[in-house]
């Protein structure tokens, strides 16, 4: 068994003559949780899309030791599930129906939803703790409920790797906590997570590893609790930060210095 479930080598991407990503390499161990942080325009979401094969980039991506460039979309979807940013708030589908669509890569072309599909979808909804929302439409849910529904759909895809693109955007604080707790639990249960976020505190406290990006280049990468927060955050965000530590907590909370009186 390959130890690094996900490996990215020398990834670069340019669009309209501009380099968006430059020679980025990293790997994520099985069951790992790596968060990509950086300011707007650093290339975080682009990196996620390149790593997931949604954008054609130079460089190599290996999942379970297999290059994804030679894979069909269907095959790739058996390895990586996604929760995308936005776009699902107006869908008139029920949570259960939306989650059942995630079974597509596993179904033969002519087949419909099988008993096994229904079982897996039911389990995914239960794992996300939203059984009571299963027959509600996505458009009728609050932001936090919808994110949990999207996570349930991603779980129903039956992959070992989960890509999250800004999963807590537009959520209030309570909803952010609920969603991040669920993501941590999913990771603890064995799912490998690669997340993009602009929220440094979520990166510091939920993930095991951090990759800091600036202008499409990797500035720092390592274990979340060894991040030299002051220097790295100041470098990538170009502003000072202040740090607070709860009782007995190893990792600090960061706040932009300008906001702290």
């Amino acid at each position: 068994m390959v130890n690094d479930i996900l490996e990215i080598k020398n990834m670069s991407y340019s669009a309209d003559g501009k380099n968006i990503l430059s020679d980025i390499s990293f790997s994520v161990p099985r069951g790992g949780f790596l968060t990509i942080i950086g300011p707007n325009g650093a290339g975080k979401s682009t990196l996620l899309k390149c790593a997931g094969g949604l954008l054609p980039c130079s460089g190599e991506v290996f999942v379970e030791g297999r290059g994804i460039k030679g894979m069909s979309e269907r095959e790739r979807a058996k390895y990586i599930a996604w929760v995308h940013q936005g776009g699902s708030d107006r869908l008139p589908l029920t949570v259960r129906r939306f989650a059942s669509l995630s079974r597509y890569p596993w179904r033969p072309v002519l087949a419909g939803e099988s008993e096994e599909d229904r079982r897996i979808v039911g389990e995914a909804i239960a794992r996300a703790g939203i059984e009571d929302l299963a027959e509600r439409t996505l458009s009728s849910l609050s932001g936090g409920e919808r994110q949990r529904a999207l996570l349930a759909a991603a779980l129903a895809q039956g992959t070992d790797i989960l890509f999250l693109d800004e999963p807590t955007s537009y959520l209030d604080y309570r909803q952010q906590v609920e969603v991040m707790k669920l993501i941590e639990r999913i990771n603890t249960e064995g799912m490998t997570v690669l997340m993009v976020t602009h929220d440094i505190n979520h990166a510091l406290h939920a993930s095991r590893e951090i990759l800091a990006l600036k202008d499409g280049k990797a500035v720092w990468r390592g274990a979340a609790d060894s991040l030299p927060v002051a220097s790295v955050l100041a470098e990538i965000f170009e502003t000072g930060f202040q740090f607070f530590r709860g009782d007995g907590q190893k990792r600090p909370y960061a706040a932009p210095a300008g906001f702290v009186s």
Partner: protein, 324 residues
């Protein structure tokens, strides 16, 4: 899982298909059919081929509309919006203006062949426009390019009509209103492959369309090859619409309305909706044709007038109610 209303829809569609041939300016009873008189000949040579052509074309256009609305993620998209109908009209008006007359094997009229050639030219022009830029046009740009092409062909058609004589112009206008007048089963047989192709396309790509309406990135991440899907669906729908317009002229709004009605009444995924659209679209156009034959009997209204009349009101309803 099939909706409980599905058997009713099957029954409705079959009932329309069965009874429509008996209704018209000359009413035909079952005893006429058994007797083998004039009624029987009208039924066999005129009414049945016409009803069959109407049913097949309605089913085809409704599935095409369903696929286009999903592909463009736009409830107002319909198969005649991409310039294919106007391209077909270009072929037809040119055929009439040039005064040529030929047919394929003596059964498919030359005007249908010319209309199909025009539709094919429009498809190729749009496809080329969509591929000039690296990475292709976005779907919304492709839709706008189709609308532009519609206007371009429309203006060329008007020039040709303007330069023509009174009789030619009248024929051109009548053709543009759409109609199902036919003698014999050849046009219906020619329409059948189009329905088979689009039905299989809708049924096979149904699960992919279910994902596609959730967003291209989401569909791609769930295993759908969106570039291939877009290309295949665009070309298939355009080709099939070309066949339909060539045989019946441009019959508007069937492709716009029927998918909405099926979604509201039946619901379900695109695989189920493909079946429902075939049944409902076929019955709808056949019923509209019966209305066109009987409302002003013994004269006939072109069926395109009936469908466009109903469709325009429905279109306004969609806009006003903000249907998503």
């Amino acid at each position: 899982m099939m909706n409980k209303k599905f058997p009713l829809l099957v029954l409705f569609s079959l009932a329309v298909l069965f009874f429509a041939p008996f209704i018209g300016a000359h009413s035909i009873s079952f005893s006429d059919v058994i007797g083998g008189g004039a009624g029987s000949r009208i039924l066999l040579n005129l009414r049945m081929p016409r009803v069959l052509l109407g049913w097949l074309s309605g089913a085809t256009l409704a599935i095409c509309g369903l696929i286009f609305q999903a592909l463009f993620r736009n409830p107002l998209a319909s198969p005649d919006m991409l310039g294919v109908s106007m391209g077909a009209a270009f072929g037809a008006v040119l055929y009439i203006r040039l005064g040529v007359a030929f047919s394929l094997f003596g059964v498919i009229p030359g005007i249908s062949l010319a209309a199909f050639a025009g539709a094919f030219a429009a498809i190729m022009a749009l496809y080329a426009a969509g591929n000039i830029r690296r990475g292709g046009l976005s779907l919304s740009s492709l839709l706008l390019a189709g609308v532009a092409l519609n206007f371009l062909f429309g203006s060329i058609n008007m020039i040709i009509q303007y330069s023509g004589g009174y009789t030619d112009t009248f024929r051109m206008m009548r053709w543009a209103m759409g109609g199902l007048q036919t003698v014999g089963f050849a046009p219906a047989l020619a329409a059948l492959p189009g329905l088979v192709i689009i039905f299989l396309t809708g049924w096979l790509t149904g699960p992919q369309l279910d994902l596609f309406i959730c967003g291209e990135e989401l569909a791609q991440s769930r295993g759908v090859s969106v570039t291939t899907l877009r290309r295949v669906l665009f070309l298939t729908v355009s080709f099939v619409v070309g066949i339909s317009v060539a045989l019946c002229g441009p019959i508007g709004f069937v492709g716009l309305m029927c998918p909405h009605i099926c979604r509201r009444i039946m619901g379900g995924g695109h695989r189920e909706l493909t079946v429902c659209c075939a049944l409902f679209g076929g019955a709808f156009l056949t019923a509209c044709d019966v209305a066109s034959r009987t409302l002003w009997a013994p004269a006939e209204l072109p069926v395109g007038i009936i469908t466009s009349c109903l469709g325009s009101v429905f279109f306004l309803y969609l806009l006003v109610t903000g249907e998503k």
